[in-house]
Symmetry: C2
Subunit: 860 residues, 2 copies
């Protein structure tokens, strides 16, 4: 055997440490950076969780670390214990550090550089540390000793060539003295640590660059659902990182249950479990676990740990080394498979999917986004950046295409609700039945978005079907009201053609019936559907937007606005153009007259043709580019239709459930519909469900003595339990000030989420044509100054790339419109961060653009 040197480090060695080309340095002194995730997939990173206390997490960490460092080539292993109580008497990182060194000293000779370091200690813990340190170090006369220094231990065994060193870095982030749950320790000893700080520290560590491959093991405290320092459960606290899990099972009596329950707690938070490993207590718990978990992942069994506390366990580790080396293999292969599968998905996605609204020819393989998971408002995406396999978090600025609502907490609440509801109901058919989720959901809808007008809920699957249903309802109501049905024969009285009144640019879905209620565009042309004919009278609406820091009203040319003053076309605030005082303005009269004229003209020019329904998207035309329609105009439309007994449909699929800052956008219009359609955010945005709400009058148009009079429309999953449960939960969550920070008590509306100062600033950039900011939405239309549209679209696309790649904001433009969309609960702080990124990019872009304009003017 080679000779070994052992060196117990004294204080001055720490100086050398700082210069070492080594992991874990300066960054820890910084403030915790944003908790956003950047995980390097080349470095195997795992979190060690216990299915109970006292099941041997630290033994497992030690075993894995020793196995990693027993490799034939120099290897690195970082062990982190973010939260330690009972410190300094107990220190898992010290145990790992010492035990691994001890184990390796017995094995094949190697040069090992090992260290253990504790970064923060509570005052009582620190006093203990000082006491111990002063005993140990008093002859050094060290003063001003921090906890990091005093707890620092380092050992070098073997050679001196640093390149050839094996490295073990053990770290404890926070230590408290009492051996109690961390949140109790905080209560008793102080040193509160908030979740994002703890996550931030861990993220920073994971972002560290090391030499070669570095194994990183993070060991939690207690059981999977034990509270962390803030009181949040650890399984929730660490969820944004979603590190792969090594679950240490429980081999004792009752351990099957404890292990399975712990496994399920992790699963229902979206973690991936890589392996279960447990100590044998002679009860064959592993058999039950294997049988229950079959094919999911391996269950490894460790020999019994000797009871004798004086036993140094070295023999046990030696006996267990094969198990740990198998475990290490399992972990490595998980890591490899995960990376491979992310790659394969990117490669193959474009070959097997047919994405909606997508010209596949324009989507090269590289531009496919691989989404590993989401947590609250952010995706975790896979990308190769700077030649490294990475998982990044990216703010989902499309709020997953206008549906997504939950923050991280609600997401887990909903996940539990989905598990429960599927287990309780699976799916149960709806007609003539009732079950709790459908009932609760309907009651909440009628008491919320349907308050004061709706009395019935018709469930379907998506916005498009909700609109198809609404149209059938409205047209029947109209036919009845206007005596156009021969009720006996259920046939029209003579020749009757029915059309709808709708606005150009509004969108109601892509099924044929919904398409027919939309004005002709390239989305509805013969190429898209040879059956589309556009069964409507489509009016061009006046729009409102912020430009040069003012709200501006823009009237289409077809309006007669001779009597309208310029003052009527500008507003300094949002409240101003929402004001009911405008109802008696010249603008209102102009609107009314325009609508009446259009209706008259239509009826004159189209014999036997009736306008059977009004259908509008309140306030915002989403798909058409986030145009804000003057609420006054929509109110006038409703009022003109009421006069003519034309049923009114509000398509709130986009606008409903706080998208525009109110539970229902009808509140912004200040008038009520006969029928309204909801979808998207209704379920919190996690699962498809739609509802068409109606007045009792409309419902009664379908009551009668024959089934043929009933609405013979339905979908198998009508009012499916999971959708209704998600909706019931989300509807309550969003409107409750105790769960949604953006709801002001008694106000019934969202706080201003997007910083209006920044919004106004944006609206004054030369490259910005208009801004619309309302509720959870902030949309910015860019225009090309000086150059053509093709150039503008190139500009947009480069902006999109920058935002995605460099700012981690996942935007997907609508033509020249860049928009940010958050959930109803997203904090103003978070939104401001995102908006500032966009503002910064657009300002740079505007500068560049100005230059271009100047230059192009020069060369004109």
């Amino acid at each position: 055997m080679m000779p070994r040197t052992r060196l117990r480090l004294s204080i001055h060695h720490c100086r050398r440490y700082v210069q070492l080309p080594f992991l874990i340095q300066a960054k820890f002194i910084h403030e915790a950076s944003s908790p956003s995730l950047e995980l390097d997939l080349c470095n195997p990173t795992f979190m060690i969780w216990g299915s109970n206390t006292g099941v041997g997490k630290t033994l497992v960490s030690t075993g894995i670390a020793a196995s990693v460092l027993s490799a034939s080539k120099p290897s690195h292993c970082v062990y982190v214990k973010p939260v330690q109580t009972g410190f300094p008497l107990d220190s898992d990182s010290r145990f790992v550090y010492r035990k691994v060194s001890e184990i390796l000293r017995r094995g094949k000779p190697r040069a090992l550089f090992a260290s253990d370091r504790v970064l923060n200690a509570s005052n009582p813990a620190y006093r203990e540390v000082r006491r111990a340190a002063s005993v140990r170090l008093e002859d050094n006369g060290a003063e001003g000793l921090g906890v990091r220094d005093a707890c620092y231990e380092e050992e070098t065994i073997g050679g001196i060539d640093e390149e050839m060193f094996y490295r073990l870095t053990c770290l404890t982030f926070y230590g408290w003295k009492d051996a109690v749950s961390p949140h109790i320790a905080v209560e008793r000893e102080g040193m509160p640590v908030d979740d994002s700080l703890l996550r931030g520290k861990l993220s920073s560590l994971l972002m560290e660059d090391g030499k070669g491959v570095v194994w990183r093991l993070v060991e939690t405290a207690g059981g999977v659902a034990s509270p962390g320092p803030s009181g949040s459960l650890q399984c929730d606290l660490y969820r944004p990182l979603r590190l792969p899990v090594i679950l240490v099972g429980d081999g004792r009596l009752g351990g099957i249950s404890a292990t399975i329950s712990a496994y399920e707690t992790m699963k229902v938070r979206g973690y991936d479990i890589v392996a279960v490993i447990l100590e044998s207590h002679g009860l064959q718990n592993e058999d039950s676990l294997l049988s229950y978990l079959k094919n999911r992942f391996p269950v490894l069994v460790l020999p019994s740990v000797p009871d004798d506390p004086s036993n140094n366990l070295i023999d046990w580790f030696s006996e267990s080394s094969k198990v740990f080396s198998s475990l290490q293999e399992v972990m490595l292969s998980y890591q490899r498979n995960r990376t491979q599968s992310l790659h394969d998905m990117r490669k193959r996605a474009g070959d097997i999917f047919w994405w909606p609204f997508t010209q596949h020819k324009f989507v090269p393989m590289e531009s496919v986004t691989v989404i590993d998971s989401r947590c609250g408002e952010s995706f975790a995406i896979h990308e190769v950046r700077h030649n490294k396999e990475m998982i990044f978090s990216q703010f989902d600025a499309c709020a997953s295409w206008w549906t997504q609502g939950p923050d991280a907490i609600l997401q887990i609440e909903l996940a539990q609700e989905m598990g429960y509801t599927a287990a309780r109901y699976g799916h149960v058919m709806f007609p003539e039945n009732v079950y709790e989720p459908s009932f609760r959901c309907a009651e909440l809808l009628l008491g919320g978005v349907g308050k004061d007008w709706a009395s019935r809920v018709y469930f379907s699957d998506n916005g498009s079907t909700a609109v198809e249903i609404a149209l059938k309802m409205a047209l029947r109501q109209f036919l009845l009201d206007h005596g156009l049905l021969d009720f006996e024969n259920v046939n029209p009285v003579g020749v009757v053609k029915i059309r709808v009144l709708a606005l150009s640019g509004s969108y109601h879905g892509d099924t044929l019936g919904a398409m027919e209620a939309q004005a002709p565009t390239s989305y509805t042309g013969f190429l898209q559907h040879p059956w589309y004919s556009g069964k409507g009278l489509f009016l061009k609406p006046p729009t409102i937007f912020i430009s040069k820091e003012m709200w501006n009203l823009s009237l289409p040319d077809c309006f007669e606005y001779d009597n309208i003053k310029n003052d009527d076309l500008q507003f300094s605030s949002y409240g101003e153009f929402l004001s009911r005082a405008r109802d008696s303005s010249a603008v209102a009269r102009c609107y009314s007259a325009h609508i009446s004229n259009q209706l008259l003209e239509f009826s004159t020019s189209s014999p036997c043709t009736y306008i059977g329904a009004l259908i509008i998207e309140p306030v915002i035309h989403g798909s058409d580019g986030m145009h804000m329609i003057d609420p006054l105009f929509q109110r006038m439309l409703v009022s003109e239709c009421r006069k003519r007994k034309i049923p009114v449909i509000f398509d709130e699929v986009f606008s409903g459930f706080w998208r525009l800052g109110r539970e229902s956008a009808a509140e912004l219009l200040g008038c009520l519909p006969d029928i309204a359609c909801f979808g998207k955010l209704m379920t919190g945005g996690i699962i498809p469900l739609a509802a068409t709400l109606v007045t009792e009058t409309v419902f009664n148009a379908f009551r009668g003595d024959s089934k043929l009079i009933a609405l013979l429309h339905g979908h198998s999953y009508s009012a499916h339990a999971m959708g209704c449960a998600a909706a019931a939960k989300s509807i309550q969550w969003f409107k409750d000030p105790s769960t949604n920070v953006n709801i002001e008590h008694g106000e019934g509306k969202l706080k201003e989420i997007w910083d209006m100062k920044v919004v106004h600033q944006l609206s004054s950039f030369p490259s910005v044509k208009r801004v619309v900011s309302l509720g959870t939405l902030c949309a910015i239309e860019l225009h090309a100054t000086g150059l053509d549209l093709g150039y503008a679209s190139l500009q947009v696309s480069s902006l999109v790339q920058q935002l995605r790649r460099e700012d981690n904001v996942y935007v997907r433009p609508l033509g020249n419109v860049i928009y940010l969309m958050c959930g109803p609960c997203t904090s103003q702080h978070f939104c401001s961060q995102q908006l500032n990124k966009v503002c910064k990019r657009i300002s740079e872009f505007s500068k560049f653009d100005e230059e271009i304009t100047i230059r192009s003017n020069i060369y004109k």
Copy 2:
């Protein structure tokens, strides 16, 4: 204090016991009846679960029982320990029995009749029992002593008037000697108990009638996920009963985690947790639990249990009595609220819902079905029967309106998958993105139902949208193939009208585009949609059915069948008419000619009008009354369309995923489509998701240099993660012989689920017009012999009532068609039970019908 008598029962007292007007008697001697649930809601019934071993479940049971029996009026409490290991040394029922007696003796005087009984013991346990009993009873010289007798203890305290007795009945169902997990005990000592037997015993107990209100407490063994005797986890084993849960929490270090995990294990199985109760260990675990579980249910804290094993705990129980009495109040109020809420739902459902396909005028409040939950193939419904509030299980013969697939095991698997997927992804937008569930689902679709032909998957939300998409695709393909598009202008070349070829009676959904592809019926008339015009050439199809024990082919009159022999119109088996040999038959030639003629006639009579797509539902027309279409005819249709380059769409929304015994019904036709639509069963039937599969040729018709050429159709929830995850899981589960008992290795088809003998028998009843049995479907059309249709429909409705109320089969007729539908995994045994019930009812009905016929003939 009143004097009390105490009486330790000797053997001969057992005789008296049998005659007592008392709970728990003869039924236990029967074979376990069917595990179907009948729970009387008047009797508070709860299951006591432990979040760990050694947390004091039995103390809690004892406390509740004592609290119940401390009531001021005589009360009954039944305590059941279904599974006991360590017996007879340990016997929780004996503990409860003795301790409660002891406690009550200290309290207010009352007449108590208490007993403890153990029904079955393993041989080793029995030997122990005998040994103990022989010592105790040797002077009686008792021979032939069974375990029930030997373990029987009874005590009477106080008065003699039986009516005034308080009663405590303690029961252990099964006892094993070793203090290990029950499944290990079974391995060692024998006495295997299968899950349904255990559930059956428990159900029988719960169905017992008692005098007045009887509290029933069932205490499980070990932790929530500890295995039962068969090795199934107890939380799974008892799930079909879904008794409300009292969870005994863990007050020790690590107990927060253990309690939360146990709670989550129960939640994700659909249990309702009524309260958590835990012993204080001075760690304030209850604070964390309360904060985590806030508003969900109460957390109660018991004083610390004295460590001293010699302590008789009487003081502790006395100290705890207030907690137990609060718990009892919580339990009672849960029970009351549950019942109230079931009532309210029934009352209000008809006022707030608008059910699909339902004439509300025909649905009185009493006929609303209140579904409390489902487990595998059965609903648990609430009903008042014989003046009692009951929860019954009812076979969902509508397989929840044609979607439902999972058995009880898959349901829980899917529930976990839903929880995991929601926690991992929530919802993430699809266009240009990829994430694992969507990817896996698409691969499984292309490798399964799309095998050998499809190369792309287009996701949407339901069958109707999948069809709308399919039509858009097919029509584009046709326009391109036939040079009908001016590609530059994306306009038709001249006047081009496009129609589809479809079959009368086929159904493709209720959105307008899907409706247009259906032949006119009262479901598509002006009353239902003023915009419907029926854009198709609709052919009447030949149908096949079983009547008088033969398969018969019925050709519509419009066919020219002069050359067809009677032999060609009858088949003795299913295989016979599926045979490809028929392709060269006279029938095939007749079909071909008919189709060609129809197409020719159409093109002649409709200038500028093209048939742009064929759309069919393979083999079964579901909505139209479960008509089986001759597969040969559909094959000929496809073949004629291929000749004319007309794209072929298979609408497999109903038929796909084993509904008809094959993964894809295309296998029955023996030909492939260009486009196929899937939905319903695809996700296992628990959550909406649809897919349109296409060939690469069709996909390429949308590739081009402009976004406008792309398919501009989409839904926000396209390929939503939960739907895709459910689909991926179910697709694999259904086709894997190791998870689906109905799949024969290497066969790729389901076993014959419905007993053909019974089916043939049914087809010979005079009141049965025809039967169609295929895959998971068995449909029976009744006809009224002798009387009119109104009478027939009355008959059907009384049959439906009998099946629902008396046979617990939830059927919902399609006109005169009664059908049973199961999942792909439902056992033949279970299906036979259900089919036999139907057969029995219809046979009675046929007899009655015959009588009516005879009588009506007499009076003619």
